[in-house]
Structure formats: structure tokens, C-alpha cells
């Protein structure tokens, strides 16, 4: 009834996990994908990338044509464990969330409509999205893939 996040604690179905594990490694820097896909993604998006090394991971900032900045957080040579965005437009979440997009959609559907805030909390996926027209912020991360010592406050 309230147009606000319902934090969904339901677990991602085993079937989804299994099918994801069986997928071939695609050259996509989506959440859960390999870091090596970032450059290919940026090329496909005709976007420029700026990469910054942090202590235990790298941040790839992709400047999208819409003016929105999409940040992908990856362990060097490893997995993209978080994505975050801010700007006038929502990013393409199908691309950014990759194999987790369907889980996000079903999580969003389970909630009453809200146009300002969204929060989905599952054991292996957290999505937070907020803002209003022409000013969006959000992030998605894999709690079990966060490198140790990484604070959630760094993922913005």
C-alpha cells in the first residue's frame, strides 16, 4: 500500500543459479561477468572508459551518451561484483545486470509501485535505485562477491 520499498528477502531460486553457472563466459562486463568485458561493452556503447585502481579492486567509469555515468567495480582480472550509476537517465539494466536482470525484474514486480525508490535484497543480489526524472542514482552488488574490506559506502 505504501509506495516505498519492500525489502525482499526471498532467495534466488536454485534453478537460476544453476543455469547461470552453465552459461558460457561471455565478453560482457555485466554484474557477475568478467572484468575483461568492460572494454568490449564500452565499445558497443560507444562510450569512453576511465579506470581507477583501488586497494583491492578496480573501478571502470563508463560515460554513457545520455550523460549518465555507469561505474563497474571488479577484482583485477576477476569478476564485476558491483555496478553503480548516476545521471539524467537510467542505464540499460539488462546490460548492466546481465544474468541478474531477470531476478531484478521479478523482485521489482513483487513490490507495490513506486517511482522514487526501489530496494531489492536477496541473499546474493542487492539492487537499490532511486531519484526522479532527469536525476537517477542506483547500484547493484553481489554481497557474496565483495572483496574483504570493501565498504558499501565506496560503491557510488
Amino acid at each position: 500500500m505504501l509506495r516505498q520499498p519492500r525489502i525482499d528477502l526471498k532467495h534466488i531460486s536454485l534453478a537460476v543459479v544453476m543455469s547461470a553457472a552453465l552459461l558460457p563466459q561471455m565478453a560482457s562486463a555485466a554484474l557477475g561477468g568478467p572484468e575483461t568485458g568492460v572494454a568490449a561493452d564500452a565499445q558497443a556503447l560507444k562510450a569512453s572508459v576511465k579506470s581507477t585502481d583501488r586497494t583491492t579492486y578496480r573501478v571502470h567509469s563508463i560515460q554513457l551518451a545520455s550523460g549518465t555515468v555507469l561505474r563497474e567495480y571488479a577484482v583485477a582480472g576477476g569478476t564485476v561484483f558491483a555496478v553503480a550509476w548516476s545521471g539524467p537517465s537510467m542505464p540499460n539494466l539488462r546490460q548492466a545486470l546481465g544474468q541478474y536482470f531477470d531476478s531484478y525484474v521479478s523482485g521489482a514486480k513483487a513490490r507495490p509501485g513506486s517511482r522514487r525508490h526501489l530496494e531489492i535484497r536477496q541473499s546474493d543480489l542487492v539492487v537499490e535505485s532511486g531519484g526522479h526524472m532527469r536525476a537517477f542514482t542506483g547500484r547493484a552488488y553481489l554481497p557474496q562477491e565483495l572483496p574483504s574490506g570493501v565498504s558499501l559506502d565506496e560503491l557510488h
Binding site: Q4, R6, S86, L93, G113, R116, H117, L118, G130, D153
Partner: protein, 415 residues
């Protein structure tokens, strides 16, 4: 809480060859009437009400009634339960409540212009149509509006649906439509004029849609700048709401600032905004004191902010039932204050109170207006979303970009 469900079994049809969107039926339920509308008392004052909305279950949602007309004609339809939203720009109406046949706008290539409107958890897809909008005594002629949930354009491009789920019914929308009267003139702006961007505007034939660039004047527009006078902004005036809430709250949207005897700038604090509509909120309670992406938004139903300790845990207890997740449920009322600072450096302090959301909402099932409803804004560590509770007991000015009042040039908010 009484639930009054309106049933309008009427879909949107594209009248082939005519480029008209229509529901084709006659008016059914008071929401749709075809009349000749001549305002007898020209006025810049629009009545608005916080009530339960179409479902009867809305909380802190501001509604009004508007009249839409086929451009240049007296064939009009009055539509109620339209949400007033300063967090968006332009009028959007659900196809299921529309009985008029409105002409579909053309893209620059001559095909139909169809829009994808993005929300944080989904999207609304539908054609841009042209209508004359009448609100109070004001009129915006040939206004581009979006008709959501059209049965004529059902193939949603993947880069539109990529934001999540469709919001294309009165139930998912919580309103018959939404009237965006925030500080910007268009819903996208120059970014959509300069290049075709997936996720915004599309040129559609009957079979295929492609992203297309759209001149700013053809985008879905905030109607206020199209008014003959009273076109530089608006003032939302709502009464105070006591702690614990109340059944309904009725007030006004006054169009124009310094254009009539009832909309003069006075001693309000003017906070100018950046290109995203942001100002800064400074707190003394949160672990991040400077909230540089703050905004005032009549379309948010609470005060959304973080009150975290140095470990990142919330100082105010959060609710533990699903319906109230994200809201605050403190054992006793929490009184706080914060300082709001515009891009112009002007500051003012605001005091507010957060009560237990579940207690106050459950205590009075008929109440729809709550001044003490608060919740977390977990998405961003730098945001304070001052929603509808902020508006109770205040006159909130929104001056539109590129428009001037005696107090300055928009975009600014003042109160």
C-alpha cells in the same frame, strides 16, 4: 480503508490512417465526459487534495482534476485522480481512462512519436499525443502529452524495457495520470534533442520502433511555460497536518509567481538548483553530513533520508513488516532538524519529526495525510528527498528554468 475501484473498460485504439489515439467509447463513470468547457472565472488557482486516490489506499499523494481537449476544439474530457508531481515534467495519462481521440504527434521522420518514460523501478511506454490542457483558468494549447499503455504500440523496444517492469495501468500507477510541474521545461531536455537515445523517444511504424532525436519543443512539456500568463512557475499551498495524520488535506496549486495578487514573492528563502534540480542538505545526525543531491518532491510520499551511525547502521529504528519496509518505526517520535542550502549559498533550517509509520498508519485506516512519515534513502548516501510531508503547512514555490520572478531566475525552490 475504503477501497473504491473505478472500472473503465476502455482501451486505447489507434484509428488507422487518422493517427488518432482514442478509446472510442462514450463516457462511462464521471471520469469521462464530453463537454464544452468555458471557465467562467479565470483563475490561476487549482484545487488539490491529498486523499486515497483511485485505489483508496494512497498515502501522502496529491491529486487534482484536469480537463483535456482535442486541440482547437471544445471536445473535452475531465479526468480526476491526476497526481501533482514536482519531481517530473509534463502530463501523462493512462490510456484506459482516456475517452478523447487525440492526434498522435509525429517524429521528425514522419512516423509516430512514442515515448519510454523511465522510473527507478520500471518504465511507461506510450505515444506522444497533442492536447489542449485546461487547469483552473489556465490553458496550454497543443501540449505534447504522453498516453501510457496504448494498445496501438505494444512492442516495447528492449532498451526501454531494460529498466524493469511496465507501469501502464491505473493500479500500477496509483493514479489516472500524473502532472509534472517541477522546475524543468521538458522531460528530457537538450540531451534528447542532440542525439537519438535509447530509453527515451522512438519513431514507430506499425511494426518497428527506432530511437530518434526530438526537438525540445516537441518533447513532453511542463505545461506551465505554455500558459499565456502565470507561466514562470507555481506555488503549492497545503495546510498543516498534525502529528498522527489526518483524513485528507486540501489546498491549492497557484500558477505563476509575481504575476497576480495571489502569488507574490515575499520573504521566502530562495534556494537555487543545479542542472539536476539538486541543492544541499546539511545534517548533524547522519554519518555523511553533507547531502549534496537533495531535492524537494511532491511525488515522494515521505521524508527520505539516512540517519546512520559511524558503522552505517540506522539510528532510527526501521519498520520490520513488509508493507512498511524502508520506513522508520521509532518507539517514540524523533525530532530532528537540518539546514537546506541552495546553489546560491542561501541557507535555512527546517525542523521535522518522524513517528512510527506503522503505528500512525494502522491506527487510523481512513487517514491519508501524514506529516511525520519518514524512511531511508538507501540508494544514495548524499540525498535528502523532502517529500510531501515537507509541503504541509508551507507554500512551496517552484520557479522554472529560464523564467524570471522578482526573486530571481529559475530553477529555484522557495518556501
Amino acid at each position: 480503508m475504503a477501497v473504491l475501484k473505478r472500472v473503465l473498460g476502455c482501451g486505447l485504439i489507434l484509428l488507422a490512417g487518422l493517427g488518432l489515439v482514442s478509446c472510442g467509447g462514450s463516457s462511462g463513470s464521471g471520469s469521462g465526459t464530453t463537454t464544452t468547457t468555458t471557465p467562467t472565472t479565470p483563475s490561476n488557482e487549482l484545487a488539490v487534495t491529498v486523499d486515497g486516490g483511485p485505489s483508496g489506499e494512497a498515502i501522502n499523494t496529491l491529486y487534482t482534476t484536469v480537463t483535456l481537449c482535442v486541440p482547437g476544439t471544445t471536445t473535452c474530457q475531465t479526468i480526476d485522480n491526476i497526481q501533482i508531481d514536482t519531481g517530473s515534467y509534463g502530463l501523462r495519462v493512462l490510456a484506459s481512462v482516456l475517452t478523447l481521440s487525440l492526434p498522435v504527434a509525429s517524429a521528425t521522420d514522419g512516423n509516430s512519436l512514442v515515448e519510454c518514460t523511465q522510473f527507478v523501478d520500471g518504465y511507461s511506454w506510450g505515444p506522444v499525443a497533442t492536447a489542449d490542457l485546461e487547469v483552473a483558468g489556465e490553458k496550454a494549447s497543443s501540449l505534447p502529452v504522453q498516453v501510457i499503455g496504448s494498445s496501438s504500440f505494444t512492442t516495447v523496444p528492449s532498451d526501454c524495457s531494460s529498466t524493469g517492469t511496465a507501469e501502464d495501468t491505473v493500479a500500477t500507477f496509483g493514479a489516472n495520470g500524473i502532472l509534472g510541474i517541477g522546475v524543468f521545461e521538458q522531460d528530457c531536455g537538450e540531451g534528447c534533442q542532440d542525439s537519438a537515445q535509447g530509453g527515451y523517444y522512438y519513431s514507430c511504424t506499425s511494426t518497428v520502433c527506432n530511437a530518434i532525436a526530438v526537438p525540445v519543443q516537441s518533447q513532453v512539456l511542463n505545461p506551465i511555460p505554455l500558459f499565456t500568463t502565470d507561466n514562470n512557475g507555481s506555488i503549492i499551498e497545503l495546510p498543516s497536518v498534525a502529528a498522527g495524520g489526518t483524513t485528507t488535506a486540501s489546498g491549492s496549486v497557484i500558477f505563476g509567481i509575481d504575476t497576480e495578487s495571489n502569488n507574490a514573492s515575499g520573504t521566502q528563502t530562495v534556494l537555487t538548483l543545479d542542472d539536476s534540480g539538486y541543492f544541499t542538505t546539511t545534517t548533524t545526525f547522519n554519518n555523511v553530513p553533507l547531502l549534496t543531491t537533495s531535492f524537494i518532491d511532491s511525488g515522494s510520499n515521505g521524508l527520505f533520508f539516512n540517519d546512520n551511525n559511524s558503522e552505517g547502521a540506522s539510528n532510527i529504528a526501521t519498520c520490520n513488516t513488509a508493507d512498511f519496509s524502508g520506513f522508520y518505526c521509532p518507539a517514540s517520535a524523533v525530532a530532528l532538524s537540518a539546514t537546506l542550502t541552495g546553489q546560491n549559498g542561501v541557507s535555512t533550517a527546517v525542523s521535522f519529526t518522524v513517528e512510527n509509520a506503522q503505528t500512525i498508519v494502522d491506527a487510523n485506516p481512513t487517514y491519508t495525510a501524514f506529516s511525520t512519515l519518514g524512511g531511508q534513502f538507501s540508494t544514495s548516501t548524499t540525498t535528502f528527498d523532502w517529500g510531501l510531508p515537507f509541503f504541509y503547512g508551507r507554500n512551496v514555490y517552484n520557479a522554472i528554468e529560464n523564467h524570471t520572478t522578482t526573486a530571481g531566475t529559475g530553477p529555484y525552490v522557495a518556501f
